[in-house]
Amino acid sequence: MTAWEAVIGIECHVELRTASKMFCGCQNEFGGEPNTKVCPVCLGMPGALPVPNMRAIDHMIRAGIALGSEIPAFSKFDRKNYFYPDMPKDYQISQYDMPLTQGGVVRYWLEDGTMKECRLTRIHLEEDTGKSTHAGSTDGRIAGSAYSLVDFNRAGVPLMECVSEPDIRSAEEAVAYLEALKRTFVQLGVSDVKMEEGSLRCDANVSIRPIGASEYGTKTEIKNMNSFRSVYRAIESEIERQIAIVESGGRVTQETRGWDEARGVTHPMRSKEQAHDYRYFPDPDLVPMEFNAATMEILRSTLPELPTARFERYTKQFGINVKQATQLVDNAQLADYFDQCVAACGNAHQCVNFVLGDLSRLSNESGTPVYYSNARPEYVAEVIDMLEKKIINSKIAKELIERIWEAAGSPRAIVEREGLSQTSDPGAVEGFVNDVLAANEKVVAEYKAGKTNVMGFLVGQVMKTSRGKADPALAGELLRKKLDAS
């Protein structure tokens, strides 16, 4: 029985986050009444000309630098010619042989913390098309439709196409790769990467081969994947399908297949038209771009810490587990907040516990992000510091977190003002213990009958009676001593 491995390459289109479109001044924003964010340029009116959005070009270069790509000193835009109703000029301004970035590596990690790498072929910049709605066709395609409507709000939105090398070996890796790309682009502010709004769209090229083989099998291209989950399911399903074909003596056909989310299978797509000859040529309306080393250096030096580096810092330096590190890295602002807490108290573990625990819970309940809340990092650090020094116990600590969430203020001051510091005075604690034993005769009897697990309840009662100030360890010790002695 042959063992198979999958070989996967991913192409994704990512809409850039800019104020205006790629080649005109129209607003770049998802949605809106159809055909309200349009002008002569993005409608392809006769005589209109494109002028490149320099912000989008900066975004591309920053993304390229972040992913270790080479930024050539010279780049240009080309026209990709084909007719389609949602493409206003019937050519798309894109990049053919001299893209803005070449090469690069996406470093990502799996759920078990294994680090992986996927090489990038290139990232190039182009303009998005409009959006067609085909009425009355059975499969949502233009063929067979009664009529079609086109919304050009999206036409001309800057779009980067990221092409990976076939370095991915499983559906899990594919999703982890996409998550890493997403994190990077979000962190850089180049895109909001929302698959549900179409600002990230991806296709996967999938083939299989016996493990150890060096040649590639015949690949299929999978389209119509609308979420990370569908990317996972589609690739899994396609790998299984290909293995089944090959193991039953068949051959995989090179084709484009669509993912059917409802049925959980891929199916062959009718090829759009015959093989396209896009007749690429340099766009004479746009002048070639040249970049100097100084500009590159400025862009490079202003890059923030990237998610993969941060992940490795958290897992290796702080010893945070993969799941928690991922949670933090996926929310850069929360991670920044976390970093500030750690800087103020030095205890990364307690910081993770509070940031992802109580603080995140409070955030979910109130809808206020942790980093915008009253609970400033230095207050959280004070709580952790007092806890470490046993000035307060964990119950008081939780209470304090809630108090600083509700209203800003130094938790140390609260503790002093309200006398919440932990009572380790044996005399005082003994008083609480005596009160509890006197009030719970029945439980005491149970304990004496051998049911020693009621100890937890009794300690809890001491804490309650002391309003949380008693040192729970001391309380336990005194309780045991008294119960065992009597």
Binding site: M45, G47, V51, F83
Partner: protein, 497 residues
């Protein structure tokens, strides 16, 4: 002083600014003249009586407010491939016959802001593809110096309009000679500035790397006036340029050519053009010398490949530029069963034969497997031609040569495409090199079988961005020779002129 409609742009602007005459009076005079003769000339596809009068009133108001405007009250014919908001902009094509532009081209806007009055949208070869204006799908335009002859093209309508005093400035576009050749045919100054000098925004593209807007006028001074108004970087056109500032061209007009070396192109010898024509150009070169220029011989060895190079690059770009005329968003749509059939039927019905021919040539030249052999080689040839000019301009300041190999011909005289393409033989190399060039009247020749002498044009060409030098020299030549003034257009009996 000439009748109002016969005045030059400079004369009109001076008089209107001095409040000797109102823009409205000039406009009414020109419109009356147009109403009288344009049925014979056919310069305009659309006349803009209401818009022109409203603009004239606005200009008069601005003058009353104390403004001085460089083109105050100057009547302008706009080639109908330039957008003017609210007006039909057809490119002389069935596919845009009823399209009304929702915006205004930058060059047109600058003319309007400077006080120009848009008299009408003037005829052209469909999508500016042609050299006689005969490729217009929407009308026939005749040469005002002999109505049996073509006005030249593609800017035939504006050339005929300015030649027939139906405007003082014609706004044209020149891709391979489309301003200079009709300028020569209609006894005008036809000026194509350096590529990128005037914004192309709102000029409906034929071949984007070659298209350049420029004026057609009856005097060099008017060309300089119009040029100064239109030139300069436009944020809406990424290929427009703002080179180092230089003096306005209108201030650089000179009286002689002393200190200038004028290159005569060895490969453009005129003997083969016939004795009459040869004599005109020999005289022109002698006149340049008499004005103080040093005449030197220069060589453009690859210029002969200009035509072949041009007829790959321009169609390649046009095949892509004209894709947008697909029946989806605007213009003609011929209904069909599915979208592909709709594209095919719309484009089959909407484009004329020459446009289709060029789309086919260009599509072929860009196709995979042919791209390197045709498009890439043509781009290399283009570089060689540009290098020839660079070498030549090391030895001279200006180049002088014919604007066209013959005067205006009769209708249907050039029935095969190649002989029509040959009309741009002398103008295409400058377009490929992006250089500023103009044609200026240089004499009269009676064509074989012709009834009346027809104007000839001398082409002058300068290095990139040397427009002021070019216009200055052309002015000196024009003032010394005054060829244009020797004859007037002829209108048929009964035409109210």
């Amino acid at each position: 002083m000439d009748a109002l409609h016969e005045r030059s742009a400079a004369q009109v602007a001076r008089a209107v600014n001095a409040r000797e005459v109102s823009a409205r009076e000039v406009t009414d005079a020109v419109l009356a003249h147009v109403d009288g003769i344009d049925a014979h000339v056919g310069a305009y596809l659309t006349t803009l009586h209401d818009l022109a009068r409203a603009q004239a009133d606005r200009i008069d108001e601005r003058i009353r407010q104390g403004e001085t405007l460089p083109l105050a009250g100057v009547p302008v014919a706009v080639k109908d491939n330039m957008c003017l908001e609210g007006t039909r902009t057809t490119c002389a094509s069935k596919i845009l016959e009823h399209w009304v532009s929702p915006y205004t081209a930058t060059a047109v806007q600058r003319i309007l802001d400077a006080g120009g009055i848009p008299i009408g949208k003037a005829n052209l070869d469909e999508f500016a593809m042609g050299s006689s204006c005969e490729n217009s799908a929407l009308g026939v335009t005749r040469n005002p110096y002999d109505l049996t002859r073509v006005p030249g093209g593609s800017t035939g309508g504006p050339a005929a309009a300015v030649g027939a005093y139906e405007a003082a400035i014609g706004l044209g576009s020149d891709t391979g000679g489309s301003i200079r050749e009709p300028g020569a045919f209609c006894n005008l100054v036809g000026f194509k500035p350096t590529y990128g000098r005037i914004s192309r925004y709102g000029l409906i593209a034929f071949a984007s790397s070659l298209d350049q807007i420029g004026p057609l006028t009856r005097t060099v001074q008017d060309a300089a006036l119009a040029y100064d108004v239109m030139a300069g970087k436009d944020p809406m056109d990424a290929t427009s340029v703002s080179p180092p500032p230089e003096e306005p061209a209108a201030g650089a007009l000179r009286a002689d050519l002393r200190g200038l070396r004028v290159g005569i192109v060895k490969e453009f010898a005129t003997q083969a053009l016939g004795d009459d024509i040869d004599a005109v150009y020999r005289q022109a070169y002698r006149d340049l010398e008499a004005l103080g220029a040093e005449i030197v011989e220069v060589s453009l060895p690859t210029a002969d490949y200009g035509l072949a190079t041009y007829y790959l690059i321009a169609p390649a770009e046009c095949s892509s530029n004209l894709s947008r005329f697909d029946g989806v968003r605007y213009g003609l749509r011929v209904d069909a069963d599915d979208v592909t059939q709709m594209y095919e039927r719309t484009r089959a019905a909407g484009f004329g034969p020459e446009v289709k021919r060029r789309i086919l040539i260009g599509t072929y030249a860009l196709s995979s497997g042919y791209y390197d052999a045709y498009y890439v080689r043509a781009q290399k040839a283009r570089t060689l031609i540009a290098n020839d000019f660079k070498r030549a301009f090391a030895a001279c300041d200006l180049i002088a040569c014919p604007a066209a190999s013959q005067p205006a011909f009769t209708f249907n005289a050039k029935s095969d495409p190649y002989s029509m393409y040959m009309m741009d033989y002398y103008t295409i190399p400058m377009s490929l090199a992006g250089l500023p060039a103009l044609s200026v009247p240089c004499g009269w020749v009676t064509p074989p079988g012709g009834a009346t002498p027809m104007p000839m044009g001398l082409q002058l060409c300068a290095p990139i961005f040397a427009e002021s030098l070019l216009l200055g020299a052309a002015h000196a030549y024009e003032q010394a020779t005054k060829h244009a003034e020797k004859r007037k257009p002829v209108f048929p009996e009964g035409a109210r002129a």
